[in-house]
Subunit: 309 residues, 2 copies
C-alpha cells in the first residue's frame, strides 16, 4: 500500500491529510505538538465546516516517534521548521530512494534547503490556494475552495508526479501539473511579501492597508525588486499582474477583513516567516547583485519587532 505522511499537521496539513484520508488512502499525520497528536488519536480530527461538525479518524504520530517508511511525504510545517523535520525523518529511516518529498509551504527557496538533505530529483513543489484554520488541538475549521499546482523541483516529468496528481484529485483537492511551478510560487510569495510585513508593521487589516493613499507606491516598490530578483533567477514575473493580484485582496469581500498570517504569528508571540519571503529576496539579491533595499529593510524591521517578543 502506498504510504503517505503529512509532516507538519497544522491547519493546512490537517486539511490536506483529512482530504486524502477521506479518499481512502493510507495517511499519517506527523507533528511535534503533543496535545494535538493525542487528541487526534483519541477523538479523531474534529472538522467544522460552514454547516457541519464531524470527526475523521486518522493516525497521528509525534515526530520523535516516527519510523515508518513512506512513499510520499507532504511538508507543511512552518518554513523555519522544515529542515529539522526532514532531517528527523531522514535519520529515522522514513525516506527511501523513491520517496517523494512534496513541499506545499509558502515562501521561497525550499527546494534549495531541502535538497541539502534529500536529492533534488525526489523533491516536488506545490503551491496551494486552499486555506484552513486550526481552532485548537485536533480541531480544524475548513471553509472555501482551493486548488493546487505541482511540479518536480528540477522541472523533470516522472511517474511520481502523476501519482501525486491522482492522489490529490481523488481527494478533491483540485490539483494540476504545472510546467512552471516557480512562477506560481513566486507570484504567491510576492503577495505574501507585500501584505505580511506591511500589515504586521502597520497593525492594519488588508483592507485598511489597501484603502490608503500611500499603498500602491509602497506595493510597487516591493514588487519591482522581487521581479528583478526573479528575472536574475530565470523566472518571469509581471509587475502589473502582481500589483493587480495584490489589489484584488483588498476588498472586504475578498481577504480585506483579515490580518495576514504574519500578523497573527507576531501578535501571538511566534517568530515569523519573513526570512522565507522578503528575507529570501534580500538573500537572492545579494547573490545575484540585484539591489533590494526595500525588502532588506522590511526584513530588518520585522526582525526588530520579533526581538520584542
Amino acid at each position: 500500500m502506498y504510504k503517505i505522511a503529512i509532516a507538519g499537521a497544522g491547519a493546512m496539513g490537517g486539511r490536506i491529510g483529512v482530504s486524502i484520508k477521506d479518499a481512502g488512502y493510507d495517511v499519517t499525520l506527523i507533528d511535534n505538538w503533543e496535545e494535538h497528536v493525542k487528541r487526534i488519536n483519541t477523538k479523531g480530527m474534529e472538522i467544522k465546516t460552514e454547516n457541519d461538525t464531524f470527526f475523521v479518524n486518522l493516525p497521528a504520530v509525534l515526530t520523535k516517534d516516527i519510523s515508518t517508511k513512506f512513499d510520499l511525504i507532504i511538508i507543511l510545517t512552518k518554513a523555519m521548521a522544515s529542515e529539522e523535520m526532514l532531517q528527523s525523518l531522514h535519520e529515522a529511516g522514513c525516506i527511501h530512494n523513491d520517496t517523494a518529498i512534496l513541499s506545499m509551504m509558502n515562501g521561497l527557496g525550499h527546494e534549495e534547503r531541502l535538497s541539502q538533505i534529500v536529492p533534488l530529483s525526489q523533491i516536488y513543489l506545490a503551491v496551494t490556494m486552499w486555506t484552513a484554520g486550526l481552532r485548537g488541538p485536533g480541531q480544524l475549521l475548513l471553509e472555501g475552495e482551493g486548488s493546487i499546482y505541482l511540479q518536480r523541483a528540477d522541472g523533470a516529468m516522472d511517474a511520481h508526479t502523476n501519482t501525486i496528481l491522482q492522489i490529490l484529485n481523488d481527494s478533491g483537492l483540485n490539483a494540476q501539473i504545472s510546467t512552471n511551478v516557480f512562477e506560481a510560487i513566486w507570484s504567491k510569495a510576492t503577495l505574501n511579501s507585500v501584505l505580511n510585513p506591511l500589515c504586521t508593521i502597520l497593525n492594519k487589516t488588508i483592507y485598511e492597508f489597501g484603502n490608503d493613499a500611500y499603498s500602491n507606491e509602497i506595493v510597487m516598490a516591493i514588487i519591482e525588486e522581487i521581479v528583478a530578483v526573479a528575472k536574475a533567477k530565470g523566472i518571469h514575473l509581471d509587475n502589473n499582474a502582481l500589483l493587480k493580484k495584490v489589489e484584488l485582496s483588498y476588498p472586504k469581500d475578498a481577504q480585506g477583513l483579515h490580518y495576514p498570517s504574519m500578523h497573527q504569528d507576531y501578535t501571538n508571540g511566534r517568530l515569523t516567516e519573513i526570512d522565507y519571503l522578503n528575507g529570501q529576496i534580500s538573500t537572492y539579491g545579494k547573490e545575484f547583485d540585484v539591489p533590494t533595499p526595500i525588502n532588506t529593510m522590511l526584513t530588518h524591521l520585522i526582525h526588530q519587532l520579533e526581538s520584542k517578543l
Copy 2:
C-alpha cells in the same frame, strides 16, 4: 528698541523666549493656543528646572491678534505650521524690509519654503542642541545645556547676523556663527530621520532600537541615501561620522530611555514632521535623480500610520 518675536511658543520657543526676556530684551511670544497664551499673560510662564520653580513675565499674543512690527522673528512652530505662520505675520504687517526671520526648526528645506514669502536675504537658519519640555499651558520644563549654530540662509555675512549672535549669547544660549550651517542642519536631520520614523514604526525607545542586532544595517541604509542626496545639493556629510552620532544616542545615560518626538506626536494623535525629514530627502532625491527607496518607504509607512489617527 529692537523688537523680537518668537513665532511658535511651544517648549523650545518658550525656552528661547524666556532666556531672551531674562537678558532684558523686548520679546513677544506668538502662538495659536488660546489657553497657553492666556495663562502666560495672567500668571507668567511657569518654569520648572532641576531644582527650582519660578515665573517669568513676558507678553504672549494669539497669531490672529498680532500686528506689531518686529526686527527679529524666531520661527519655532511645528515644521508644517511655519509657512502659514509666516504668511500671517507678513499679512499683518509684522515684517519690514529689514526684519530677520530666524528658523530654528528641525528638518530640511525651510529656507526654500519660507523664501516664497520673505526674500532669502532676510532668512537666517539656526540649529540648536537645546531641548525643552512643555508640561501644560504656560508651563515649561527646562533641563540640561545646549548650543546654537547660525548663519544667513544665503551664506552671506551681515550686521544682522552679529546682532542675533549678541542677543542669543546675552541670553546664555551659547551661540556661534557657522560658516556652513547646512552641514549642522543636515547632520541633526539625519539623526532625526533615523530615530524618529524607526522608533515610531517599531514602538521602541532609542535604547531598545539601538540595542538590536539589526539596527546598524538599517541605520546605514538610511544614512547612505541622505549623504548621497546632500552631496547632490553640495553639502558634504560623512557616513561614519553620522553613524557614530546615531550610536551615541543609544545609551540609557544619553537619549536611550526616550522615545523621539515623532513617537510622541504619533501616540498623542498628532501629525508628524516626516515630510520635513525622510520625506524631504525623498523629494530632493527625485529632484536630483538620486535613488532614495528607503527614505521614501519610511515616509509612506509613517503616512500610513498617520491615516489611522
